[in-house]
């Protein structure tokens, strides 16, 4: 069950010829896959491609009707390996995953897939996550495309171009017997737009039918001696065919005036940013009509040399707009010019920065610099030499606090790190290795725990050098997602085999929570197409761990602390594994809220917990926040001249998880926290007893009030 449901949106996947599709980029890509008669789809969640997996998961009906197999693969490697179905069978297949790191994980399968080549179109849809909001820097799938000889598509970021790229990609793949990568930047995945739909196609040969008539061709095996032949085939046959296909079908675009003195070569994904920069330089309009000639690379690998050289004819200079480093495209184009007898010079990095996302101001500045040097007459005097002295932005940076992402309200992982912080204070600091996942927020305030994160499921493995032990044991943290992705073998198996003395904490929140709450093997939810409920404890015991403790309610901070202490001090040999389980609060709320609302409406007894702080008792030292960081635990200024500092306060977003009360207890902070449980539709006996108790309490309170001075706030 994913955080975001696309159940409503997937209805748009049914539309056909003559209708207009309206929606998010990711949904459009899914629609295009169906229009292309894809036979199987799969992938692994991760921003910015998670929603594609969620869409596919929610689209089981339509996939089933079209006889398309959907697999939620265990990892990017597993997803890429699945494309093996297109090696011998003329079936189109597509898998999706996060580009950065995901392509690294997939590279083993990718190399082998590329070696033998494919019969049916095989497509990897890769989300590149480069700048703002990116969890991991992209290393560019470009290098992998070149290394394995896989073609790389980087379409313009609008739904028409992106869905066309899906069709083009399959055709290119089949025409050249080569898998292709379709690269989408994060904003393109989430762009809202429209395109004219076509009818969905059933796969001409379904995977089900293929099983009835198995095929094999040993020459396609990535094994010597065939692999040596593939190496030649790739460059002697597939590459030239690809370039021919790209040029014959006009996959790259030339725009603007012909035979201008200068030109710009741009990765398709950056085209809109380029056009806006040209617009601001008064050289283009909002419809892409430009005074500067543009060669838009919707396929960034391989590069079509003849096409590029034709573009350069009559040009003095071209600017290559290529995000990331190394500048593979600029180097390649420079080489082409060098081999030709054209006098054109190619520029790129220098006018544009080596690294970082090409955001609007970067693009504008790079373009202006290039034009000022090579076509100064195209710029108005004001644009050629702008007055730089004006500072429009006030000095405000110091006034605005940073707001990095963090644990959500009620997150069950927060108490795990509160417990870890307490144990650090008790027995000294520990070497802590982190992993990928929500729990990585532990490295930020208020916890400040952990110093490395080497990869998904690699947290414990990255503490391997410390496996031999020392004065204090090393601790590593890994999520349930990482555990099933890679961690069971690479981290836990590794620790067992090497007789590690360290402590491994597996954070089990029932989902792949960081990527949007997709189901994984240990999820507790009932999923009609997946086998969930597989035990992490059973798996680690099966692989040879003898010391395992399971905490089934992570909010019990004292228990977390005590279990950690035990793990850090026990005489038991081998790795000490703690499985800390509680459901991701985002998903839990999404599940429980409507249920509770329904129950209340139906008159059933429902308990709604909420926490509060007694502002009279709180002294405003904020010790609770230094062990929590919960968004709902916040500051409040009291209307009291005797108070200097704001007190703690719990706002209306509280979900009643209990973390703040437990922390106050475990760390012996203060008695100001209380839990207020509202019981809707109480039983008759319960309500009667409550009335009686309240009467007694009120009597006692009045009795005391009659003897003392009491102050009461009343409206003035």
């Amino acid at each position: 069950m994913a955080e975001r449901s696309f159940a409503k949106e997937v209805q748009d996947l049914w539309i056909g010829e003559g209708e207009t599709f309206r929606g998010e980029g990711i949904l459009g890509i899914t629609k295009a896959l169906l229009e292309c008669g894809v036979g199987y789809v799969g992938g692994y969640q991760g921003a910015p491609i998670s929603h594609l997996m969620d869409v596919l998961a929610d689209a089981q009906d339509i996939l089933g009707e079209l006889d398309v197999r959907f697999e939620a693969n265990a990892s990017e490697a597993a997803a890429t390996a699945m494309l093996a179905a297109s090696v011998h069978y003329p079936i189109r297949g597509a898998v999706a995953f996060k580009g950065p790191v995901g392509v690294n994980v997939a590279s083993d399968a990718l190399a082998n897939l590329a070696s033998g080549g494919v019969t049916g179109g095989a497509m990897l849809i890769v989300g590149e996550d480069y700048g703002e909001g990116s969890a991991i820097m992209q290393e560019r799938s470009h290098a992998f495309a070149m290394k394995s000889q896989v073609w790389l598509l980087d379409p313009r970021p609008n739904l028409v171009s992106m869905t066309k790229a899906v069709r083009d990609g399959f055709e290119l793949s089949e025409a050249t017997n080569t898998p292709v990568i379709l690269e989408l930047r994060i904003r393109a995945c989430h762009v809202h737009g429209t395109f004219e739909a076509r009818d969905n196609q059933r796969p001409p040969l379904s995977v089900r039918e293929a099983l009835s008539a198995p095929r094999r061709d040993p020459s396609r095996l990535a094994l010597p001696p065939f692999a040596y032949a593939h190496e030649h085939e790739k460059v002697e046959s597939r590459w030239p065919r690809a370039i021919e296909h790209i040029m014959d079908n006009g996959l790259n675009e030339r725009m603007g005036p012909k035979n201008a003195k200068i030109g710009v070569v741009v990765q398709g994904g950056l085209y809109n940013t380029l056009n806006r920069a040209l617009e601001r330089l008064e050289l283009a309009d909002a419809y892409g009509n430009s005074d500067v000639e543009i060669y838009c690379l919707n396929v960034t690998y391989p590069l079509a040399e003849p096409e590029f050289l034709r573009f350069c004819e009559g040009k003095d200079a071209v600017l290559v707009v290529e995000e990331g480093q190394p500048n593979y495209i600029e180097q390649a184009l420079g080489g082409m010019l060098h081999r030709s007898d054209l006098p054109t010079r190619a520029y790129g990095k220098g006018y544009l920065p080596m690294a970082g996302e090409y955001q609007a101001p970067v693009m504008l500045e790079g373009l202006r610099g290039f034009l000022a040097d090579h076509a100064p007459d195209m710029l108005s005097p004001a644009l050629r030499a702008p007055n730089r002295s004006e500072t429009e932005v006030p000095e405000i940076a110091d006034a605005v606090p940073a707001r990095p992402p963090g644990f959500c309200t009620g997150c069950p992982e927060r108490p795990i790190f509160a417990g870890m912080k307490l144990i650090d204070e008790e027995i000294g600091p520990h070497q802590i290795a982190c992993d990928i996942g929500c729990h990585l927020f532990s490295v930020l305030p208020p916890f400040d725990l952990g110093g490395t994160t080497m990869g998904f499921g690699l947290g414990p493995a990255s503490n391997a050098a410390f496996d031999g032990g020392g004065e204090r044991r090393a601790i590593s943290v890994m999520g349930d997602g990482g555990f099933w992705h890679n961690g069971l073998a690479s981290s836990v198996g590794n620790a067992v085999f090497n007789k590690s003395d360290n402590v491994i904490v597996i954070v089990d929140n029932y989902y792949a929570a960081a990527t949007g709450g997709q189901d994984i093997p240990s999820s507790r939810s009932k999923n009609p197409t997946k086998q969930t409920g597989n035990s992490i404890e059973g798996a680690v015991r099966g692989i040879g761990v003898n010391w395992v403790r399971t905490i089934d309610r992570t909010y019990d901070v004292a228990k977390v602390r005590d279990t950690l202490r035990e793990a850090l001090t026990t005489d038991a040999e081998g790795p000490k594994v703690i499985i800390a389980s509680s459901e991701c609060m985002l998903n839990r709320q999404r599940r429980e809220r409507p249920e509770k609302a329904r129950a209340i409406a139906e008159g059933r007894r429902v308990l709604r917990p909420k926490f509060g702080v007694d502002e009279d008792v709180c002294t405003g030292d904020h010790a609770c926040m230094r062990l929590s960081g919960c968004p709902s635990l916040t500051l409040k200024e009291l209307d009291d001249p005797l108070r200097d500092d704001p007190v703690a306060s719990i706002d209306e977003s509280c979900v009643g998880c209990g973390n703040c009360g437990e922390v106050a207890d475990a760390a012996v902070l203060c008695p100001s926290f209380y839990q207020a449980d509202v019981i809707e539709n109480p039983g008759r006996w319960e309500a009667a007893r409550d009335r009686m108790t309240r009467r007694i309490i009120v009597w006692l309170q009045n009795r005391r009030a009659a003897k003392r001075l009491m102050f009461e706030e009343v409206a003035a």
Binding site: D616, V678, E712
Partner: protein, 515 residues
């Protein structure tokens, strides 16, 4: 970014009717919902609209930006940008004050062009909450800078509007956007967009219309201000008469002292009784006698403030008393907001230690126990554990009620003796300084702010206080002594550990050694 290319104003080629709008939110605030509404609104009015966002992990309570471009639809599909550019945004919508500030910081707000719609409420960042003192960013300054940077600003607490309509801030932001007239669309089409969204429509529309009207008419800031309150005193007639006499004495004090002493008096009376309040007032009057108007009565005002805080220490009696009061019951009810038919249960999270229990012993006995670590540890083992009390239940309530009724024995307890000693030492030091260095005496009084919290936090506060007092003694006689003590206090409040304070003390030592 400092080196960025800034175009002279008026040099852009404005496409006909192209509007650029960015939404700046905190993850989880509904920025996505608002963006979808804006897109639907534009499309309903014959515009071509494109929105993008960078969700990913930023959704988890971090800053998020959504970006929308729209222009009247034509035969040709426009090429629109996927991210806002500095100096090139028409409307900035911010769901929180600092997010508006961040938009200003990033250059998205231009004086000649940008309309800013922002809620002025705060969602505090973690960094602001961790400071033991007051780490909050300066909201007024950011609001002022935002107003100064924008062409037009619509700013009020839209979160409060949403809360009162039991809706979300996205609805009141949408209302303020409609009311601002920044987009060329009629109100009816905003309403249809909300109606078409299908969930919580009535609440959303309520918040929408209230915020729209507020944006149109210009908000009376008082609309957001809490209702003014005054304290009414109740109790036996004799005691009330005594209280009136105390109040008359307070009124006779110089203005600023009187205001502070009035609050102090009430606090002390609530903590103990009118007798202790009378003692408090006498002490304050003595302080006033030694003070003078030339210093705006700063010494005696500070004295009145921190003496009240020092007198009202947190012991078991105080906590139990506060937790069993009718006013507190009402506050809990207000916070949890149960329906008329619902029940309310209250569970107190407490964790007493031997220190608190022994603190309740008679002073002489308590000191003996403290002197015997074995006995103390034995008591600690008996009492030191987390306890959950159902204060709405009769058993726990009566126990707390009785504990809260132990006020008469308070002045015989070990804790009271300890507090008295500590207080006397502190006050006599301030009195000693007063004729010698007025400002330093005031600062010494203000150092009381360092003592707060319970258990370890309280112990750390005490040790910070002691360190600051050591610093004060070293600084005595210097012209800048008060200034330096203030710096020491600021350092102590900036971090939970005493490291910044110790570092500042080292600086003091270095110039004292040098001098």
């Amino acid at each position: 970014m400092n080196d960025q290319f800034i175009l002279p104003v008026g040099s852009f080629t404005h496409a006909e009717g192209l509007l650029k709008l960015s939404v700046h939110a905190v993850g989880g605030q509904g920025g996505g919902v608002l963006t979808n509404w804006i897109v639907a609104l534009a499309e309903a009015n014959g515009y071509y609209a494109q929105s993008t966002s960078v969700p990913g992990l930023a959704q988890r309570t971090g800053s998020t930006i959504y970006y929308v471009e729209m222009m009247p639809a034509t035969e040709t599909t426009p090429v629109l940008a996927l991210m806002p550019a500095p100096g090139d945004v028409d409307v900035v919508v911010a769901s929180e004050m600092m997010e508006a500030g961040r938009a200003v910081e990033r250059g998205f707000v231009s004086a000649g062009r940008t309309t800013v719609i922002t809620s002025t409420h705060r969602v505090y960042a973690t960094s602001e909450k961790l400071i033991p003192g007051d780490g909050r960013a300066d909201r007024e300054r950011v609001l002022e800078l935002t107003r100064a940077s924008a062409k037009r600003t619509v700013a009020f607490d839209m979160h409060d509007f949403a809360k009162r309509s039991k809706s979300h801030v996205s609805a009141s932001l949408f209302g303020a956007l409609a009311g601002s007239g920044a987009l060329p669309f009629p109100v009816e089409s905003y309403v249809s967009v909300i109606e078409a969204s299908g969930r919580g429509v009535a609440a959303s529309l309520d918040a929408f219309h209230k915020a729209r009207e507020a944006a149109q008419t210009g908000v009376d800031e008082a609309a957001n201000a809490p209702v003014a309150k005054r304290a009414e005193v109740r109790g036996p007639e004799k005691k009330r008469a005594e209280w009136q006499r105390l109040l008359t004495r307070v009124e006779a004090l110089p203005g600023p002292v009187a205001e502070m002493a009035k609050a102090g008096l009430r606090k002390v009376a609530e903590f103990q009784d009118e007798r202790l309040a009378g003692d408090y007032l006498t002490t304050v009057e003595e302080a006033v006698a030694g003070d003078d108007a030339d210093h705006m009565w700063l010494y005696s005002t500070t004295f009145a403030k921190y003496l009240a805080n020092a007198l009202c220490y947190d012991d078991l009696i105080r906590v139990a008393d506060l937790k069993t009061r009718a006013a507190r019951f009402a506050r809990v009810r207000d916070h949890a907001d149960p329906s008329d038919t619902a029940l309310l249960r209250t569970t107190e999270y407490m964790h007493p230690r031997a220190e608190e229990v022994v603190g309740m012993f008679p002073a002489a006995l308590g000191r003996k126990v403290e002197a015997s670590p074995k006995l103390f540890a034995w008591i600690d083992r008996r009492v030191n554990k987390g306890r959950r009390y159902r204060s709405d239940g009769i058993v726990a309530f009566v126990a707390l009620y009785m504990l809260g009724g132990l006020k008469p024995i308070r002045r015989f307890t070990l804790r009271d003796a300890q507090e008295r000693e500590h207080r006397e030492a502190w006050l006599s030091y301030a009195r000693h300084l007063l004729p010698r260095d007025y400002d330093l005496a005031v600062e010494v009084l203000a150092c009381r702010r360092l003592i707060k919290g319970y258990s370890d936090t309280h112990a750390r506060g005490l040790s910070k206080f002691d360190l600051a007092m050591q610093g004060a003694r070293k600084l005595e006689g210097r012209a800048d002594a008060a200034e330096w003590l203030r710096r020491l206090r600021t350092a102590a409040l900036s971090d939970p550990s005493d490291q910044p304070l110790r570092d500042a003390l080292k600086t003091v030592d270095s110039f004292l050694d040098a001098g």
